[in-house]
Amino acid sequence: MEFLLLLASPLAGALLLGVFGARRWAPELNVAVSFATFLAACALTARVVGEGNLLVAREQFFIDPFNVFLVTLTAFVGLTTSLFSRPYMRVELEHGRVSAPRLRLYHSMYQLFMTTMLIALTTNNMGLLWVAMEAATLSTVLLVTLYRTAASLEAGWKYFILCGVGIAQALFGTILVYLAAEKILGAEGVSALLWTHLNAVKEQLEPAVLSLAFVFLLVGYGTKVGLAPLHNWLPDAHAEGPTPISAVLSGLLLNVAIYAVVRCKVLVEGSLQSQLPSRMLMGFGLLSVVLAAFFLWRQRDVKRLFAYSSIEHMGIITFAFGMGGPVANFAALLHMTVHSLTKSAIFFAVGHAAQKAGSQLMENIRGLITLSPTIGWGLMMGSLAILGMPPFGVFASEFLILTTAMREQWWATPILLTALGVAFAAIFGRVQPMVFGETTARRLPHPPALLPVFAHLGIVLVLGLYIPPYLAHWYRAAARLIGGE
């Protein structure tokens, strides 16, 4: 029941907003739908915590501690982003950057995007996972090009083609898994594509085919995670689309893609009995961290800057999942949560700041603190949080990842530390003059929504200081599920 509501409310919202999305009250409807989704997610979580794993709709969907926490996170960030988007898109409308019919497209696609992500998270079927991931790309392509500028069209095209080709590789990987699985599970019905069934027999699956499948799946879903060297679409898509979309792409879509990669890794590792998947994840992860840290120095656009920071953090998470083991998995899950919350908070602050300055270029954004202290402080705190300053949650998770790396993969520690240091210098050096100094900002016709920024940062702060026992228990259960030897 809760589950049905979880998928039905954003889908119904997408249809409703497809009709009424241009009305004056459409942003409020968007918030209401997102709120309903969030309530459903909370109810679902409560049920899973109480009753354990769920299998719904003839085993096509399943919910366990790993994905239910991502479902809640997705629904929560979806809600706060819709709150943020309400004044933000109204200002864009008044500045003439979008028209009313395009707002209809925007609202409808926003809810459709939420639907596809929730399906991708909860489905038990590898094929449906693929379909939902592709649908998530398609629903956001037109959002990236919402402003119809030359740069946004280019970004949209790159996003479409790179992710399209990437995801085609994932389909091939899925076919290979199916090929290996139908030997054991039989071709009747779809059981050979269901995670729950695959997991039960993973030791019997043919290793040669599965390792080939994993390469394709990792390249395919890794493109969506933004792992280097497949990351080219990510900064463009983040920078050129409307800011609420940057927030959900960075905060949610990347998480969902990582989720897909980790599920595949669990499966393949069980079959291979070797370190190959772990090594590949660690390699791609480290490469992304290092590459992104150095690319940070070359950025002039504030949204591109934080997009590269997302690549860096995805690299850290991938590396941690690659190391495996209960502690690293726990840290990676925590890092997924805090990164998603912090990064979307930063994008909210950056969105308002860019509107006030009338430009996304960092040299044009100056002295936010004089005109609007809350946005200025929001951006400053968010940046400090994402850079891993204590007492924020990112510090806790990065600390756990680094200490585990020292114990298990000592060679990687200097690389990680250098990259983190480089990233710190790059981001802090650029954010500091944006927040302090002479101002160039102007007043906006609609007061910005700052509640989401501070709500997110508050949660990240709390997670850094104290993780409530039930949450820690939940993370541990999920980490165990992903497999720690």
């Binding site: 740069a151 095209w157 399209g164 090929l179 002039r300």
Partner: protein, 228 residues
């Protein structure tokens, strides 16, 4: 000597035709013809699916064949033809690599594809397992088409042909994916083409051309040049 059943020989013929069509796409510069080749590829895929359905008695393959007919032989080529007429893009510009060079790369790609398909064919128990190598080759050749072309339209044809290769691969390795998945994939492809249609009009409106070299401003080096 082992004699191969007649139906299987026909299937192998289909596989060979698919490979031939991929090479033809690699060499073709007229976009209208490229779309025709894509439709032809869809038709061969349809024939292969029907043959396989008849031979193996797998009923869901008939459904899959109907889907192929509706989508890949009729609907998608029709949409693409309409787009070409409305947007008046008939020729691709000189590819990044000349035709004979591309062909040579193509031959190497086919060799690589057969190497890649070896372990898969070894595991598959289907009668059609020898065609898996061809399916992988079709996929990779479409990829080469996408890389060497400049026009957005040719890249899309390459993308769709890659999808065809994937379907053929799924068919020869496992007699097709479960129906739910095939429907989902088909739906996604259809939506993708519709989204692209909208997209082309936006690009056209903005640049007055569908040539992708206009879309090269978002580069890292660019931001540095402006610094200086």
């Amino acid at each position: 000597m082992v004699t191969i059943p007649f139906a299987l020989q026909l299937l192998n013929l289909c596989a060979a035709l698919l490979l031939l069509l991929s090479f033809a796409m690699l060499a073709q510069r007229r976009i209208v013809n490229l779309v025709k080749l894509l439709a032809l590829q869809g038709a061969v895929l349809l024939a292969a699916t029907l043959l396989l359905a008849w031979r193996t008695g797998q009923h869901h393959l008939y459904l899959s064949a109907a889907l192929t007919l509706a989508l890949k032989v009729v609907l998608l080529p029709w949409i693409l033809h309409r787009l070409i007429r409305r947007l008046e893009v008939y020729w691709d510009t000189e590819p990044l690599l000349n035709i004979s060079g591309t062909m040579l790369v193509g031959v190497l790609v086919v060799v690589f594809a057969f190497g890649l398909a070896q372990p898969i064919s070894a595991l598959a128990s289907t009668a059609t397992r020898s065609s898996i190598g061809i399916a992988v080759a079709v996929m990779l050749l479409s990829f080469v088409t996408m890389i060497t072309r400049r026009k957005a339209m040719s890249q899309v044809v390459g993308f769709l042909s890659m999808e065809n290769g994937l379907f053929f691969g799924a068919m020869s390795a496992t007699y097709g994916m479960p129906m739910v998945v095939e429907f989902g994939v088909a739906l996604d492809v259809l939506v993708a083409v519709l989204v692209l249609g909208i997209f082309f009009f936006q690009i056209r409106e903005q640049f007055d051309s569908l040539d992708l070299h206009h879309l090269e401003s978002l580069k890292e080096s660019h931001s540095l040049e402006e610094d200086g």
